[in-house]
């Protein structure tokens, strides 16, 4: 280490700056990165489809989902900060092995499907620049991402690619330029209503699945654990946990604001103006940006999707492979050198191939984005039960168990996601 560590409230040693601006900036951490990763192509596709199909009718979901998302992510981060172990390792140490196997299998299937459709969306984005078929484009995209995460630094990849998310800013501007019916927007935002049929329940499950996503629990938990382990020191103090809460709030607020404006602008442009109910191609999805960018809308959409995808695919694949590596006791993590975590990186390369193969299943790549979100929606309830039990287990987190508010909102979130998934399952029978 090159500088003197400074103790923070008896726990979590951090190298604090004496400069107030630099100190304020250091508050931002894994929560914001996780929030940005939440707006992955599957998320953006699901939000756009929501707006195209239901108009402004489901805007209220973004407000309802915000506390659900913050609670799930904060609890995950708290487990990471307290145990300084990955969620997989925590399950391995404190619960029967079959629990770990089931969690790894569920996460593996959902994450690889999600990564696969995200790779397809990135390929669809590149297809708008380069006239090569999306299926063929999938292969170089998967290879590029595999090379990036195996031989590159994920920290640098995050830092150099996150700027592409700025293209999502176009959704905010487009919403205002599309001459929305503000009365309908306000009604959709503040008055919850939902027709109880398969189509709307599918969309609710997809929205919950892509927002309160299990892979994000694992990801933020691991990021927090790694950050705190590197920082050294004892158990996290209250001040440290307040920083984690603030970081999580900022990240999730950003994520939900983007979600709100993607639904808003897609509703205004695709549903109300163009009369579209279903998005079936990248070009059609990009039409939501037409009011702000005209003919450049497709290219702007492509930039946003490519950036969001390159941030999300490594986290999706790595969080699944991390959990499997825990089962086998392999050295793992994207911060490891390939020579020191050979098995982890080989499995990661295999996982990338499997994810890429999803695009050869004959499913429309844009509609597959929503399908992947629905699958995540079914996985969310059991994973929420797991993190709620872990975060209330004194053997795992000591005296840092959940307070009353966290338990109420956490179990309410578990109940809502379960009810939505069961409701959809009933309509499918």
């Amino acid at each position: 280490m090159t500088s003197q560590p400074t103790s923070v409230e008896g726990a979590g040693v951090e190298e604090e700056s004496s400069n107030p601006l630099l100190r304020a900036l250091s508050v931002i951490g894994p929560g914001v990165i996780t929030g940005a990763a939440d707006d992955d192509p599957s998320g953006i596709g699901t939000y756009a489809q929501t707006g195209a199909t239901f108009g402004y009718g489901l805007l209220w979901m973004t407000i309802v989902m915000f506390p659900m998302m913050v609670t799930a992510q904060y609890i995950s981060a708290k487990i990471g900060a307290t145990t300084r172990r990955s969620l997989g390792a925590v399950i391995e140490h404190h619960y029967p092995r079959p629990v770990l196997y089931v969690a790894a299998a569920g996460l593996g299937v959902a994450n690889l499907l999600n990564a696969g459709v995200d790779i397809g969306a990135i390929a669809a984005g590149f297809h708008l620049f380069i006239p090569v078929s999306i299926r063929i484009m999938v292969i170089p995209v998967a290879v590029l991402i595999a090379v990036l995460i195996i031989f590159g630094s994920f920290h640098l990849i995050e830092t150099t690619f996150k700027w592409l998310a700025l293209a999502l800013l176009a959704y905010v501007v487009s919403a205002f330029l599309s001459h929305p019916n503000m009365a309908a927007v306000l009604r959709g935002t503040f008055i919850p209503s939902i027709p109880l049929n398969r189509s709307s329940l599918s969309m609710v499950v997809a929205l919950l699945g892509t927002t309160v996503s299990p892979y994000l629990f694992f990801w933020q938990e691991q990021e927090e654990a790694t950050e705190d382990r590197k920082a050294g020191g004892g158990r996290p103090g209250k001040r440290h946990m307040r920083r984690v809460l603030l970081d999580t709030n900022v990240g999730m607020l950003f994520s939900e604001a983007v979600a709100y404006f993607v639904i808003f602008s897609s509703a205004a442009t695709l549903h109300h103006t163009a009369g579209a109910q279903n998005i079936s191609s990248a070009v059609q999805a990009a039409q939501a940006l037409r009011p702000v960018a005209g003919r450049a809308a497709t290219l702007l959409w492509a930039v946003g999707i490519i950036g969001a995808g390159i941030l999300a695919v490594p986290t999706l694949v790595a969080s699944a492979v991390d959990t499997v590596s825990t089962i086998f006791g392999w050295r793992h993590g994207l911060d490891q050198k390939p020579s020191r975590a050979r098995a982890f990186y080989i499995l990661l390369a295999v996982a990338m191939v499997v994810a890429a193969l999803v695009n050869f299943a004959g499913i429309n790549p844009i509609q597959a984005l929503v399908l992947s979100a629905v699958v995540n929606g079914f996985l969310t309830p059991p994973m929420l039960v797991l993190i709620m039990l872990i975060s209330n287990n004194r053997n795992v987190v000591g005296d840092r168990t959940n307070g009353r508010l966290l338990n109420v909102v956490g179990w309410l979130t578990t109940g809502i996601t379960t009810a939505a998934a069961v409701g959809l399952a009933v309509t499918l029978l």
Binding site: S3, V27, F161, K162, V172, V250, G294
Partner: protein
């Protein structure tokens, strides 16, 4: 002799400067594709600041989270594709002459500053 805290702060300032410059470069490229900017200057201004507040500080933890994969190969593999995409966006979104030059300078200088901080951390 430079104290450890001064050195950490220098790294953080360099990382912050790099991030702000890269952010600036991308803002110029993205906004150049927008129509009707004048009508919605306030909305765009607020949105740009909000994106900046969230995106710029993320990744500033270079000192706390010291990189294990710190070598020239990592830099080339991680940064070159991002620069390539920046240039593709610059050309395809038709960023005009002076704006394109300023955006490119921001991106190159910003990335150099950030990579320097990453290497020195």
């Amino acid at each position: 002799m430079t104290s450890p805290r001064t050195r950490s702060d220098t790294i953080r300032v360099l990382a912050l400067l790099g991030s702000v410059l890269m952010f600036g470069g991308w803002v110029i490229v993205i906004l150049s594709a927008f129509h009707h900017i004048g009508n919605l200057a306030l909305v765009i201004g607020v949105a740009v600041v909000a994106f900046g507040v969230v995106l710029i500080p993320a990744g500033m933890d270079l000192v706390a989270a010291r990189e294990v994969k710190r070598n020239a190969r990592s830099i080339v593999i991680s940064a070159v594709p991002a620069v390539g995409l920046f240039l593709v966006a610059l050309v395809t979104l038709h960023t005009n002459g002076p704006a394109a030059v300023v955006a490119s300078l921001c991106e190159i200088a910003g990335m150099a500053a950030y990579l320097w901080a990453w290497w020195a951390a």
